[in-house]
Amino acid sequence: MPQLLPTDVFFFLTLFGLFGLLVYSLGQTHLRRPWQKVFQSTQAMVSLVILIPYLLVAVADSIRLEGVLVPQAGEGPVASSEPLSLLDLGLQRLRLSVEKTYSAPLQVELHAREMVRLPDGREIWSTPRLRYGGSHLIDPFKERTSDLFRRAIKGFFKGALVWLMLTVPLLAMVVWWTGDKRRVLLDIALGRSRFPWRAVLLAGLFLAMVVGVLAEWAAVYHVLGTDKVGADVLYQSLKSIRTGILIGTLTTVATLPLSLLLGILAGYFRGWVDDVIQYVYTTLNAIPGVLLIAAAMLVMQASMARHEAAFQSLALRADVRLLALCLILGLTSWTGLCRLLRAETLKLRNLEYVQAAKVLGVSQPRILLRHILPNVFHLVLIAVALDFSSLVLAEAVLSYVNIGVDPSTESWGNMINTARLEMAREPVVWWSLASAFCFMLGLVLPANLLADVLRDAFDPRRVS
């Protein structure tokens, strides 16, 4: 039985909305050219090659099934008590192979020494073997390196094979579509094609190989180690992708109606409307954002506690908290775009085509919809792309000060938060922090690069 949590609903609605917007804007002549620029940019397309897998993971993690049969240690399969996402099912092994406590990446033993009772009854101070990680090895000290190497090679080729299986039909389609076989392939090989095929395919190959190696290792090791309660860090990092992307997209969607409406109204009507809106956002800006979010989250938690009956499962409670966080972040971060839109509208309202529309007796709402909105839309697009990455980072900061997502929700912020205490340990536990950092970088850096290209393409002032 599929089950939908509130954030899933909003996430899918947002995705459909974005897709619709893309299709719509590709149909508009004045927007098609900037899009062409984006599609011909190597930077943007390589960024997309990395962003799309992230998105796919997030989607896979948002489709949940209830009552799935889960293999239980020692017994037969048992129906799981909570709904599991497709990602959980795909990563069943990672999810269930829980160690006792910390272990370093790709290790076969626990991180810290502890008392181990030997079969003969003696107790010694040593690092015991892991229950799952590398448990197939008989003599790990001799075999581990060669096993890792062998698996890496295997993963490498598996990745390449998958890439080939995807690339060949794709190229065949391109060739079939354009006709001249030789020239098209030569152009792609030399990087001369208009769409940056070569860069995209090479980025895809790189990605496929990295994923191949990781997957091959993850089958028997903890690639990124385990955390305090022995959960696999790679699994946590992958689960965090959904949280990060959700906060990035849902929050932006939450800011848009406010900033669009208020910004355009303030700029167009000026006078007291402008005054009121300006005072609202200057006041809002004067309050420290973290304070506001902390207060709102506390209120939200209190009201959730009061209406306990409505939130029966833990998952639902964590999910509502995530949604609330998105809304609160959205309500506190709309001012930047609002300011931009107000300034642009101030400029547009004095342009002659707006005046001409007034003279022609066109109604105010129609002027706002047909003359102002389409002409500020590039700003919205640019702001959304730029805000996305800053919001992903904001989540990490908020979780760090404990007002972010629910502690039971996997997120990069929570990973950093739990890892920060362990930084003082000797030997240091670094992998939680490092994994969160790498996964965040992998999402935010391409998102920023893509945003740069989008801004260049859609900002009319940059058009030569």
């Binding site: 508009q28 002549t29 004045h30 000026r270 006078g271 007291w272 402008d274 005054d275 009121v276 342009l351 002659e352 085509y353 005046q355 001409a356 529309a357 007034k358 003279v359 022609l360 007796g361 066109v362 109604s363 129609r366 047909r370 003359h371 389409p374 002409n375 030569s464």
Partner: protein
């Protein structure tokens, strides 16, 4: 103080090394400029050759896009755009400018060649004082510091006719008017003691009454200093007043180069057409005199404006106080008849545009009454705003800003019908738009295109069609031709005339150009400081002006454009 001008080390060196023969100061040979972007390539200048001698004024005349400014910028090596290809030889006093290293070129720029740009608003740095910006040039090119530098700066401001130059040194650009700023720009260009001054449309951005003064100043300085002046302009009036030699540029090539004899009869057909298209003051004699004045009593006024006052307030706000400002329009009254053309003229800032916008309801009136066909336009008892607005329409000045870039032409033209005649049949609507498009001389294929695909003149045609779509009784035209090239200007004026004959609407024509007035108007109203100072039939006002303000406007018109019958 003028003595200081002569003491320039660079100037002395130049005069020593200069051969005494009459070799040209600037010699341009086969200049070619191409802009490449990706695979497309645009040729801006296609093989231009000319000489400029010492002490002469050379005018390069052409319409927009003819490549005249690009030629000047490429001579200065200021075209730093990517994908620009420069070819040809440019010799200044025998030195090849194109092969100079950039560092040496920097001393040439401002030092040997000065340049005055079109817009004085943007060519001065707003956060530095006039004295600082002028002093910088003097220090750089004359090596003066401290007190001598200050004296030199004062001398230059005095030279360009800025009142009270000592005080003006401390002024910032925003404290000066447009004309004063252009004078400062000229002082800065001259302070480097250049042999050649390039003036790129030096008066285009200025008010009519100032244009004559600036041209006079340029001419005086050129004669006094004996330098060469390279004037770039689209206006034959300016050329006639200043130039010793004239070159006409068209689509990147020089079609004709001639001396003063040019004005007796240009040889090339393009120059002939250009000269002919220029609206002259005597144009009103070439068309039948409209005798509507005689029968005035019998006819009912279409529009009667009574005592209209418009005042712009400082922005109203919940917490901001209001400061009263002098009114932009101060008690103006006039009447218009069906089918007549009334020209509203005046220098910039006289309130003519404000009056037009007030009639349309774009700007609120403080007091006064406007009756359209006997009914009040605003206030109680008036008909619905919707209908009023259809009867008054407007054509704007800037054809590039007056259409929404995100809408196709069909939507733009139909917009007024959607708003004012919502019950109209779709097929009828598209028929109306089609026939209007033909009426303004465009093809039906234009309907599916976006505004940026049209030239300035075509866009102005579309704007006229958009306004006419709702069948207005009065069309208010706010400088509809001032942003257009001369030849296009003439076409638009002809179009306006023929449309009036066909549809019988009236024009309220707002302009500063008396030549256009003469070509189009039946009556003229002159405004000054928000008040009507003179009003009457076009021949009376233009040739027997009563008000000193009218006379000043007429004096500002270049000699060439005054025509044969000038008073």
């Amino acid at each position: 103080m003028l003595l200081i001008l002569g003491v320039s080390p660079e100037g002395a060196a130049v005069s020593l090394g200069k051969p005494l023969t009459a070799s040209p100061l600037l010699s341009v040979r086969d200049l070619r400029v191409r802009f490449c972007q990706g695979e497309s390539e645009v040729t801006a200048v296609a093989g231009v050759s000319f000489d400029i001698h010492r002490g002469e004024c050379f005018a390069l005349v052409g319409e927009s896009g003819s490549g005249k400014s690009v030629s000047a910028l490429s001579v200065m090596r200021l075209l730093q755009r990517q994908g620009t290809r420069l070819e040809g030889d440019v010799l200044l006093d025998g030195v090849d400018l194109f092969s100079l290293p950039e560092q040496a070129m920097e001393t040439f720029r401002g030092g040997r060649i000065g340049m005055v740009f079109q817009d004085p608003m943007t060519s001065l740095n707003p956060v530095l004082s006039i004295g600082y910006q002028l002093g910088e040039v003097i220090t750089r090119h004359q090596g003066l510091q401290g007190e001598p530098q200050r004296l030199e700066a004062i001398a230059w401001l005095d030279q360009v006719g800025l009142p009270d130059p000592r005080e003006q040194l401390k002024a910032f650009p925003h404290q000066l008017s447009g004309g004063m700023r252009q004078r400062v720009m000229i002082a800065m260009a001259l302070a480097g003691l250049p042999d050649l001054l390039i003036a790129d449309e030096p008066t285009t951005a200025l008010d009519v009454t100032l244009q004559a003064q600036i041209l006079e100043l340029l001419l005086r300085l050129q004669r006094e200093r004996g330098m060469a002046l390279w004037l770039i302009t689209h206006d034959f009036g300016t050329v006639f007043d200043l130039a010793d030699r004239i070159a006409v540029m068209h689509q990147g090539v020089l079609v004709e180069t001639a001396g003063r004899t040019f004005f007796d009869g240009p040889i090339h057909p393009y120059s002939q057409a250009l000269l002919k298209a220029m609206p002259r003051l005597d144009a009103c004699f070439e068309r039948p005199f409209s005798g509507s004045i005689a029968s005035k009593e019998n006819r009912e006024a279409l529009l009667s404006v009574r005592d209209v006052t418009v005042r712009y307030e400082a922005q109203r706000g919940l917490f901001s106080r209001q400061k009263p400002r002098p009114p932009a329009v101060d008690g103006v009254s006039f009447e218009m008849e069906p089918g007549e053309t009334l020209a509203l003229v005046g220098a910039s800032g006289c309130g003519k545009t404000s009056l037009g916008k007030a009639l349309l309801g774009l700007v609120p009136m403080v007091s006064g009454e406007v009756l359209l066909a006997g009914y009040p336009l605003s206030g109680e008892g008036g008909r619905t705003r919707c209908e009023d607005r259809g009867m008054l329409q407007m054509v704007f000045q800037d054809p590039f800003a007056s259409m929404n870039p995100r809408m196709v032409v069909a939507d733009i033209l139909e917009e007024g019908l959607w708003a004012l005649r919502p019950s109209m049949d779709p097929s009828e609507r598209s028929d109306r738009v089609q026939s209007l498009l033909t009426a303004v001389g465009l093809e039906a294929s234009a309907l599916g295109r976006y505004p940026h695909e049209f030239s300035g003149g075509q866009r102005q045609r579309l704007c006229i069609a958009r306004a006419l779509a709702v069948e207005p009784k009065i069309l208010i035209c706010d400088e509809p031709t001032s942003a257009l090239d001369v030849s296009v200007q003439a076409q638009v004026i002809d179009l306006l005339k023929s449309l009036q004959q066909r549809f019988g609407h009236s024009y309220l024509f707002i302009t500063h150009d008396l030549g256009v007035v003469s070509a189009l108007a039946d009556r003229v109203a002159v405004m000054h400081d928000g008040r009507l100072v003179e009003m009457g039939p076009v021949r009376e006002v233009l040739f027997h002006p009563q008000s000193p303000h009218t006379r000043r406007l007429l004096d500002a018109l270049p000699v060439l454009r005054r025509g044969r019958l000038s008073p």
